[in-house]
C-alpha cells in the first residue's frame, strides 16, 4: 500500500489533515448549494399537481436521506472505535451526531411545511415522517448519553453500543411504523405520483451532493475541536500553528 492509512488514524496527524480537507469540501458544498437553488427555482418547471410547493422537496428529500445515512455512518464509526479501540473513529461518531440530528430536524420541519399545503395538515402520521421523528429521538438519545458521561472513554464506548443497537432497530422501527400505518389507514398520502422532470432530478441530486459535502466539512471542522479537547495533555497540541500566539 502506497499510503499509510494508519498514520491518519492517529488524532495528531488527522488533525492537520482534517484542517486541510475542510475547504475542499466546504467550497464545493457552497457552490453546489447555489447551483442547486438555481436549478431548483429557475430551471425546474412548475409542477402540474403541486404547483410551486413541490420545490420544498429539493431540501426535504436530501435531508431525510442524509439523516438516515449519517446515522448509519455514525454507528459504523462508533462500532470501529468500540471494536478496534481507535479513538479517532469514536471522535468522528461524536462529531457526526449533531449534524445528523439537525438534518433530521430539517427533514421534519420541511416535511411539515410541505404537508400543510399538500395534505392540509402540518403533521400527518405518515410512515416516513414518523420514522424520521423516531430517528431524531435516537440521535437525541445518543447525544444526551454522551453529554452526560464525564469520562470520554466510557462516553465513546457507551455511545457506540447505543448507536449499534439503534441502527439494528431503525429498520425494525421503520417496518413496524409502516405496518401500523397501513393498519390505521386514513393518513397515508401518496407522494408525488407523477414522473419527475429531469431538471427536478438534477436539482435534487445537486442539493443532495451539496448537503453531503456540507456534512463532511462541518463534521471535520467539529472533530478538530474534539481532538484538541481530548488530546489537550499531549505534547503535539502545544506545537500546532494555532497555539503560536
Amino acid at each position: 500500500m502506497a499510503i499509510n492509512w494508519f498514520k491518519y488514524a492517529a488524532p495528531s496527524s488527522f488533525y492537520g489533515l482534517a484542517g486541510k480537507l475542510v475547504p475542499w469540501f466546504a467550497w464545493p458544498a457552497a457552490i453546489l448549494f447555489c447551483v442547486g437553488i438555481y436549478i431548483g427555482f429557475f430551471v425546474a418547471p412548475t409542477d402540474a399537481v403541486q404547483s410551486e410547493a413541490y420545490r420544498i422537496i429539493f431540501i426535504h428529500v436530501p435531508a431525510s436521506i442524509l439523516s438516515m445515512f449519517i446515522y448509519l455512518i455514525m454507528a459504523g464509526y462508533a462500532a470501529l472505535g468500540l471494536i478496534f479501540n481507535t479513538r479517532l473513529s469514536s471522535m468522528m461518531a461524536t462529531s457526526l451526531a449533531p449534524t445528523g440530528a439537525l438534518f433530521a430536524f430539517i427533514s421534519l420541519w420541511t416535511g411539515a411545511l410541505w404537508g400543510k399545503p399538500m395534505w392540509g395538515a402540518w403533521w400527518v402520521w405518515d410512515a416516513r415522517l414518523t420514522s424520521e421523528l423516531i430517528l431524531l429521538f435516537l440521535y437525541l438519545g445518543f447525544i444526551s448519553l454522551q453529554a452526560s458521561i464525564e469520562d470520554p472513554r466510557r462516553a465513546d464506548r457507551a455511545g457506540a453500543l447505543l448507536a449499534i443497537v439503534g441502527s439494528v432497530n431503525v429498520p425494525i422501527i421503520y417496518f413496524s411504523v409502516k405496518w401500523w400505518n397501513t393498519l390505521h389507514q386514513g393518513s397515508t398520502v401518496k407522494l408525488s405520483g407523477t414522473s419527475m422532470h429531469i431538471s427536478m432530478q438534477q436539482a435534487m441530486f445537486t442539493m443532495f451532493a451539496a448537503l453531503w459535502l456540507y456534512a463532511i466539512a462541518i463534521s471535520l471542522l467539529r472533530v478538530r475541536s474534539i481532538i484538541l479537547e481530548r488530546e489537550r495533555n499531549s505534547q503535539w497540541v502545544t506545537e500546532i500553528v494555532e497555539m503560536k500566539q
Partner: protein, 227 residues
C-alpha cells in the same frame, strides 16, 4: 471448577433479587399503583364515552405499562451499583450474560408480571370484551419481558449518571416503539374482527430476538459502565 450450571446461576440470581425485593415490598407496589393510576386518569381526562374508551383501551394500557416499566428501571442495577454488590457480580467466575438475564427475569417478575395480572381489571374499566381482554393479557405477557430487556440495556448504559432516570427513558422509549405497535395492534385486530395471530407472532419474534441478544449487550454495557 467454580462454575455453576447456567440454570443454577439463573435461579440463584432470581432468588437473590426476589429476596431483596421482599424486604422492600413497597417498591414493587408503587410501580403497580402508578400503572393503575395512570390508566384511570385517561377516562377522567378525555371523558367517559364508552365507545371512545373501548377504542382507546389497548393504547392506554400499553402506554401506561411502558411508562410503569420505565419507572422501575432504576431498581434494576442502580441499587446494586451504589453498594458495590454489582461490582462483585462482575467479578464472579460465571457467565455475566446469564447473570444479567437472571436480573432481568427477576425485574420482570416484580414489575412486568404484576402489570399483566392487573391489566384485565383495568380493561374492565374501559368496557373491553372478554376476547379483547384475553388478547391484551397475552400481548402484555409477550411484550413486557421485551420492555424489561430493552430497559436493562438502557439502565446498564446510564449506570451512575446524573439524571439517569430521565436519560434512560430518552434512550429506551424510542427502541420500545415496535413492541408498543404490535402489542396494541393485536388487541385492535381482535376487536375489529381480524386474527391477532400475526401481531402476536411478531411480538413472540421480538421476545426471542431480545432473549438472544439483550442479555449479552446489557452485559457489555455493564462492563463499559463499570470501567
Amino acid at each position: 471448577m467454580n462454575k455453576l450450571s447456567l440454570m443454577g446461576l439463573f435461579g440463584l440470581v432470581i432468588r437473590r433479587d426476589l429476596m431483596l425485593a421482599m424486604r422492600r415490598r413497597a417498591d414493587v407496589l408503587t410501580t403497580l399503583i402508578f400503572f393503575v393510576i395512570v390508566v384511570s386518569l385517561f377516562p377522567l381526562a378525555v371523558g367517559s364515552e364508552m365507545d371512545m374508551l373501548r377504542k382507546m383501551a389497548p393504547g392506554v394500557v400499553w402506554v401506561a405499562a411502558l411508562l410503569a416499566s420505565m419507572l422501575s428501571l432504576g431498581r434494576m442495577f442502580s441499587a446494586d451499583y451504589l453498594d458495590g454488590t454489582l461490582e462483585q457480580m462482575l467479578l464472579v467466575p460465571q457467565s455475566l450474560s446469564i447473570l444479567v438475564l437472571g436480573k432481568i427475569a427477576a425485574h420482570w417478575m416484580l414489575s412486568g408480571l404484576p402489570l399483566v395480572l392487573v391489566a384485565p381489571v383495568l380493561g374492565l374499566q374501559f368496557d373491553m370484551s372478554g376476547q379483547a381482554l384475553l388478547i391484551l393479557v397475552l400481548s402484555l405477557l409477550l411484550g413486557t419481558p421485551v420492555l424489561s430487556m430493552i430497559g436493562a440495556f438502557g439502565a446498564a448504559l446510564t449506570l451512575g449518571l446524573r439524571g439517569g432516570g430521565v436519560l434512560v427513558s430518552l434512550l429506551v422509549l424510542p427502541l420500545c416503539i415496535p413492541v408498543l405497535i404490535f402489542g396494541t395492534g393485536a388487541v385492535i385486530a381482535v376487536t375489529s374482527g381480524v386474527s391477532p395471530a400475526s401481531n402476536l407472532s411478531l411480538l413472540g419474534a421480538f421476545l426471542l430476538m431480545s432473549l438472544l441478544f439483550a442479555p449479552w449487550v446489557s452485559a457489555q454495557a455493564l462492563r463499559i459502565s463499570m470501567e
